[in-house]
Symmetry: C2
Subunit: 360 residues, 2 copies
DNA sequence: CTTATTGATGACAGCGCTGTCAAATAAATC
DNA sequence: GATTTATTTGACAGCGCTGTCATCAATAAG
């Protein structure tokens, strides 16, 4: 049976429920908050009344009376639309589940006032916790202030994985290594690498992974093959310029994100270089873009939604330590990636030093 | 001077401000809410105290005491990441300005329970108003329920522009017409059109605009040149298939959004059809994608952020009729578009019936 | 100067809920 | 059965603010 309408006096309050269940409002409150020391029979009666009246507690009253915060902030400096959307949906889902609201806070990570702004935000909106996405998750001064404020926060994919505090990461280094190995398996030896924005933690780790792969395959790391990008399409264009003008062009380029890979691809088209026949290009992130460009990009999928969800869970585990159904979380969580092989990489043309292994 | 810390007793309350300014809390409240009947001198004194103590009213207390809602809901069924991000940022900015919170509600516009869900949301979270993005803005049953609920809502880009109620639109029809005319000016006569998802209002209007342009240029509308897409990249692929297999291929294709244009472009590449030399392709929306594919897409920029902002303003104009600094809004608002000419369209190869006008 | 009228201010209740603490009841102990 | 102890329940204050209404000062009218 749907909601029973009472005499048109606005929303159902806790008093109505209490009256209907024949208990005091305090008892209703207890049931609602999963507090102990309520007899099972009473609990059931209350729950039924809640159901029947379609009662929902007033969040304002709750947070006022309980002096508790039920808003989680999400501070981000838009790295890309799809990244944000994914983080958003992951976080939103988890927040709903745990009965938190999510407050978005777009910001500029280079703004020297950022720590101050965030502090304001936390105080003004009485945030319970905060989620930081890269590159905000790497603003040292902000982290310092946050620590000092003693607010609970989780960083998503921070550079520094040694510092205490909550974070959720993906193994970027291993991912980049695997991607590079994929290229090497295809037979490439001369593999260009486009580094990401130096302020983004992932850039570091991805470059390391690239080095790891070359090293373990006995390939020298050549300076001219490594260029500094900024994670943007335009920077991909520029880096492509440098890489493709080399006297001996690389046979493959690993751009450390899809936007830059798209830039290089774009440039290759302009130059009439056929991809992947003459040049393999791979990206990283598996953004929607990577399926859409031609040829579609071989890339690496990051579980962004899952990371955001895990971030919320980390937070909730701290904020409501005895929350039902939430296991003890390690303060750090590492999620899995997945290599997505599409069409932008193939074995190198003629001059490849060594053919791909065919022991498979 | 930065915030003055008081004796560590938690956040600053209205009482502190009242004491500091030497007035009653009610007067402070008046100033805060821009109510009349406060002497200018008093007002200034209060404002100074607020400033000095860095006081921010507690939103929970406010909405509880004032029995007022200060949350605006945003119901969307993700048409695309960039669309959402833009709507989000536009709405977020305006909400901040007017002191509202924005509550995101991703949903499935085909879910028959949608009206019910939204109703729940409105009641549970005590929403002040609601913003609907396409295609949610066209779910008839939902609109009916909303009207009945007497909640204030704005539709962004709804199909039906005759029905009463608030909405913000762009002139899709004129935009599509202009785009088609652009192609015609380039010399194209045989122009393919890829319709958008039939449930999205824009699809209709854009097709109308295409027809308008052909008609006014004295070109017949050919059935085989008009194919039904779904606004997705994949559907672009399929539609491209149909269009490019025609015995007489169109010299240009107007896809009614960028994703589909990218699909056709992708396919053209696969088929070895050179774009734009052999085939011009234009899109619609100016998504980030359109700059990134090769060749970059000639497209049409929609002021999505501005539309979202306008939507919030519409809402606020109704919700707080005497809000300072907000002019009376017409219940409908139409924003401007902009043709973005990039590289994916040029004059047709040889057989174009008429060369482009060169009276310019 | 008195009285009506308006403008400026404050006292106080109460929004719907939770925290505290006391009361009532049930269970365990002697 | 009486007493102690644990469990369950409720009365009540109060979170920080706004709405109502009374008060008081300032100005206009008689």
């Amino acid at each position: 049976m749907p909601a029973v309408k009472r005499g048109g006096k606005g929303p159902v309050t806790i008093d109505d429920v209490a009256a209907s269940a024949g208990v005091s409002i305090k008892t209703v409150s207890r049931v609602l908050n999963h507090e102990p020391n309520v007899r099972e029979a009473t609990r059931a009666r209350v729950r039924q009344a809640v159901e029947q009246l379609n009662y929902r507690p007033n969040p304002s009253a709750r947070s006022l009376a309980g002096n508790r915060a039920d808003i989680i902030g999400l501070a981000y400096d838009n790295p890309s639309d799809s990244y944000i959307t994914n983080v958003l949906h992951g976080a939103l889902g988890a927040c709903q589940e745990f009965d938190y609201s999510l407050l978005l806070n777009p910001c500029d990570y280079r703004d020297p006032c950022l720590p101050q702004q965030i502090t304001q935000l936390i105080e003004n909106r009485r945030l319970a916790g905060l989620i930081l996405t890269p590159p905000v998750s790497d603003v040292a001064e902000l982290l310092r202030v946050l620590d000092q404020l003693e607010i609970t926060y989780v960083s998503i994919a921070p550079i520094d994985r040694e510092r205490p505090g909550l974070y959720v990461v993906m193994n970027d280094r291993a991912g980049a290594r695997d991607m590079t190995l994929h290229l090497i398996e295809l037979g490439h030896r001369r593999i260009g690498f486009v580094k990401g924005h130096p302020d983004h933690g992932a850039s570091h780790h991805r470059f390391q992974g690239y080095c790891d792969a070359l090293r373990q395959s006995g390939i020298a790391i050549t300076d001219e093959l490594v260029v500094q990008g900024m994670f943007s399409f335009e920077s991909g264009l520029e880096c492509g310029e440098r890489l493709l003008c080399l006297t001996t062009r690389p046979t493959a380029v690993f751009a450390s994100n899809d936007d830059m890979a798209a830039g290089i691809l774009h440039l290759a088209h302009q130059r009439g270089i056929r991809v992947p026949e003459e040049l393999s290009i791979v990206g990283y992130d598996d953004t929607p873009l990577s399926r859409v460009v031609w040829p579609s990009l071989t890339t690496l999928r990051q579980p962004i939604q899952e990371m955001a969800r895990a971030a919320v869970e980390q937070l909730v585990a701290i904020l409501r330590p005895n929350h039902a159904g939430l296991k003890a979380h390690a303060p750090h969580e590492t999620l899995r990636y997945e290599l997505v092989v599409r069409q932008s990489a193939c074995p190198p043309p003629a001059g490849a030093r060594r053919p791909p292994r065919d022991d498979a």
